[in-house]
C-alpha cells in the first residue's frame, strides 16, 4: 500500500482488508503513540479514536510532535 506520510511516499504491506489500523502503522514506524498527533487526509484523529482508525491506499498522513518554539 502506498501512503504519503509527512509528505513522503511510503510503501507498507496492507492487511487483507486493503487497509492498516493506525496503531499498526505507528508500530511499524516505531512511533510512540503518546508522543504524536495524527491527521489523515487533513482530518485530525482524536487520541481516543486511534484504535479504530485505519489508513488506506493513497492516504495522506501527517504525524507531528511538539518541538521547541516561540513564534
Amino acid at each position: 500500500m502506498r501512503l504519503i506520510v509527512n509528505g513522503k511516499l511510503r510503501e507498507l504491506d496492507e492487511d487483507d482488508h486493503g487497509a492498516i489500523p493506525l496503531p499498526e502503522m505507528l508500530k511499524r514506524f516505531e512511533i510512540d503513540p503518546r508522543l504524536v498527533a495524527v491527521a489523515i487526509n487533513g482530518d485530525v484523529i482524536p487520541k481516543h479514536d486511534f484504535a479504530a482508525a485505519r489508513v488506506h491506499e493513497g492516504d495522506a498522513v501527517e504525524i507531528v510532535r511538539m518541538v521547541g518554539g516561540g513564534a
Binding site: 491527521a39 516561540g70 513564534a71
Partner: protein, 263 residues
C-alpha cells in the same frame, strides 16, 4: 504581595511567558526556563522525523508538572494551515490553549489581521482557548476580544528582531480599551523593553529570542524575570509623571553662604 494574572480561568504568579526555541542545548532550555520563573511555555508543532522517530527533544527535559504548555501555530501562512496545526497541537499536547499565528510574510513575520480573526472564530467555535498574535491594531484587538479570545498578544516589533516596543503608542491604546489580558509578544530585546511593557500596564510579556540567543541565556532569563517584576511593581506603585522641567530633590532653602566678618 498577591498579584495574580488570570487567563481563561487559569492563574499565573509569573507574568513572563517563555518560548522554547533557538536554545543551544536541552540543558540550556531547561535552565533558562527555571531561571525565568515562567509558568507558561510555548511550543511549536512539527512533523516527526520518521527516520528517527524516538529522538528526544528539549521538551522531553521539561518538568511539565510545573509549566503549562502553550502550543503555537508558528509557520502557518494560511487559515487552513493554522487550523490544522492548532488541532494537531491540541491532540499532541492535550491542551485546548493555542497561540494563534497566521503569518503570510516571511521577511517581517507580520500577522494577517483578516486571517487571524477568521481562524480565531473557527477555533473558538471548536472550544479552543485562543491567544492570538497580532499587529498592535487597537480595533483588531477589540474584534478578537469580542469574538471571545482569552487574550490579545500585540507585537512590540518584528519577531526575533529585538527592536523593542516600537508600537508603544498603539499598545497603550489597546491596554486602555481591553477587557482581556494584553500580552506583549515579539520584539523584546532587553529587560528595559520588558519593564517598559509592564509599566504601561501590559498584563504579561512573551519572550523567546532575547533569552535564547543572548550570550548567556540563563543569566538573561533571570534578568528578564526581574525586569518583568520590576515593571509590574512600578505599574502598581504609580510612577511619577514626566515633566518638561526640573524639580530639585534637595531643599531649595538654607544653603550656607560665604560672608566675611562684618567687624
Amino acid at each position: 504581595m498577591s498579584d495574580l494574572l488570570t487567563v481563561a480561568g487559569k492563574e499565573f504568579s509569573s507574568r513572563l511567558f517563555l518560548g522554547t526555541g533557538k536554545y543551544a542545548s536541552p540543558e540550556q532550555t531547561v535552565a533558562a526556563i527555571e531561571a525565568s520563573g515562567t509558568q507558561l511555555v510555548t511550543v511549536a508543532i512539527r512533523r516527526l522525523d520518521l527516520d528517527n522517530p524516538n529522538a528526544r527533544t528539549e521538551l522531553d527535559y521539561i518538568d511539565w508538572s510545573r509549566h503549562s504548555v502553550l502550543p503555537n501555530t508558528a509557520g502557518c501562512k494560511t487559515v487552513d494551515e493554522a487550523l490544522l496545526t492548532a488541532r494537531l497541537g491540541r491532540s499532541v499536547t492535550g491542551s485546548t490553549w493555542v497561540k494563534l499565528e497566521v503569518i503570510p510574510d516571511p521577511k517581517y513575520l507580520l500577522p494577517d489581521p483578516i486571517g487571524t480573526l477568521r481562524a480565531a472564530e473557527q477555533l473558538l467555535s471548536e472550544g479552543f482557548v485562543v491567544l492570538p498574535y497580532i499587529h498592535a491594531d487597537p480595533v483588531l484587538a477589540k474584534h478578537l476580544e469580542e469574538a471571545g479570545c482569552a487574550t490579545v498578544m500585540p507585537l512590540g516589533s518584528a519577531i526575533g528582531s529585538g527592536q523593542g516596543i516600537l508600537t508603544l503608542h498603539e499598545i497603550k491604546i489597546i491596554i486602555e480599551n481591553a477587557n482581556v489580558p494584553v500580552v506583549v509578544d515579539a520584539g523584546i530585546g532587553a529587560p528595559s523593553d520588558a519593564a517598559l511593557a509592564m509599566e504601561i500596564g501590559a498584563d504579561a510579556v512573551l519572550i523567546n529570542t532575547a533569552v535564547a540567543k543572548a550570550q548567556d541565556p540563563v543569566l538573561m532569563a533571570g534578568a528578564m524575570k526581574k525586569a518583568v517584576e520590576a515593571g509590574r511593581e512600578a505599574y502598581l506603585a504609580g510612577r511619577i509623571a514626566a515633566k518638561p522641567f526640573a524639580s530639585a530633590s534637595s531643599p531649595v532653602e538654607g544653603v550656607a553662604v560665604i560672608a566675611k566678618s562684618g567687624a
